[in-house]
Amino acid sequence: MATPVLICDDSSFARKQMARALPKNWDVEITFACNGEEAIQVIKEGKGEVVFLDLTMPVMDGYETLAYIKKNELNACVIVVSGDIQPEARAEVTQLGALEFIKKPISTDKAAEVLTKFGIL
């Protein structure tokens, strides 16, 4: 069965870049969201088992989204994909329950490596 994957980023270019970076042999059903609020809706509908989440977004940012997911115990494996690569950002999202922190721009190799590392692929 196809894995429900959610890509959440306010930039349409970044969403596209992320979708392209997913392994070609991975059977997925991709849903897109532009901010955290939309992402949470999608996750509640069961369409975000694996989530690629940006941090800097309007309406509801990545940190707030992670905090909500954690507090409400939503079922989602979140991988943060961020342009903010300061050590503090990584520490903070890990504490908020993100599986991994990937630097933008995302590459196909990096995506495959992380998915394999966590046994998702």
Partner: protein
């Protein structure tokens, strides 16, 4: 200079420039954070196609009442040229000098040194980041002081641009817990916009 052809950018292109800037600005901020031992608060970069005489409006992060100091640095690579401006709110310097543990009196000479140090880091890293994503190798010229302790309008006036329209990327950096505020402005020349748009279109292709 081709004045008759009007340059423009589409919404998709603007989004792409913004995302590229976002990544580049993050890399630059990471270096600054490590240098100063602080957390840099990252904004959403603002990308606009504007008239050069509208530059003041692009600098939303700095108030009219503030006095500022700034440097500019030209760059060129693969037929894409422009200028990078780094403008500091003058109140920033005392915090920067203490974070860098500079000894001695904070005079205009030391402020200039600090300004040049930070400019080298931020401008260099940002251009490298943009260049990597667009597959362009930018060479940078020598930094030039635009002014110290002046108001923003005077600082921008002192510069004589030979082009009218510019693709402007504004990044306003603030430092958490400190009174440090600076605006990094990357200005691409009118002639560069066509080349840049083609590069961005290539990235946007399916």
């Amino acid at each position: 200079m081709n004045q008759s052809v009007s340059v423009s950018i589409t919404e998709d292109q603007r989004d792409c420039y913004q995302e590229i800037s976002n990544v580049a600005m993050g890399q630059a901020a990471d270096l600054l954070a490590r240098l100063l031992g602080v957390k840099v608060i990252l904004p959403i970069p603002v990308v606009n196609l504007i008239e050069v005489n509208e530059l003041r409006m692009a600098l939303s992060g700095i108030e009219n009442s503030d006095t500022v100091s700034g440097v500019c640095q030209g760059f060129i690579g693969n037929a894409i040229s422009g200028e990078a401006l780094l403008i500091f709110n003058d109140t920033s310097f005392s915090d920067i000098s203490s974070l860098l543990q500079y000894k001695g009196v904070l005079d205009a000479a030391l402020e200039l040194e600090l300004l040049m140090d930070v400019a080298n880091i931020l401008i260099g890293a940002c251009l490298r980041g943009i260049g990597e994503q667009l597959d362009v190798n930018f060479s940078q010229g020598h930094p030039v002081v635009l002014g110290q302790h002046v108001n923003l309008n005077d600082l921008l006036k002192s510069d004589n641009y030979r082009w009218t329209k510019t693709l402007a990327i504004e990044i306003n950096y603030k430092i958490e817990g400190y009174d440090i505020n600076c605006d990094l402005l990357i200005l691409f020349t009118e002639d560069a916009i066509d080349v840049l748009n083609r590069k961005v279109d290539y990235l946007l292709e399916d």
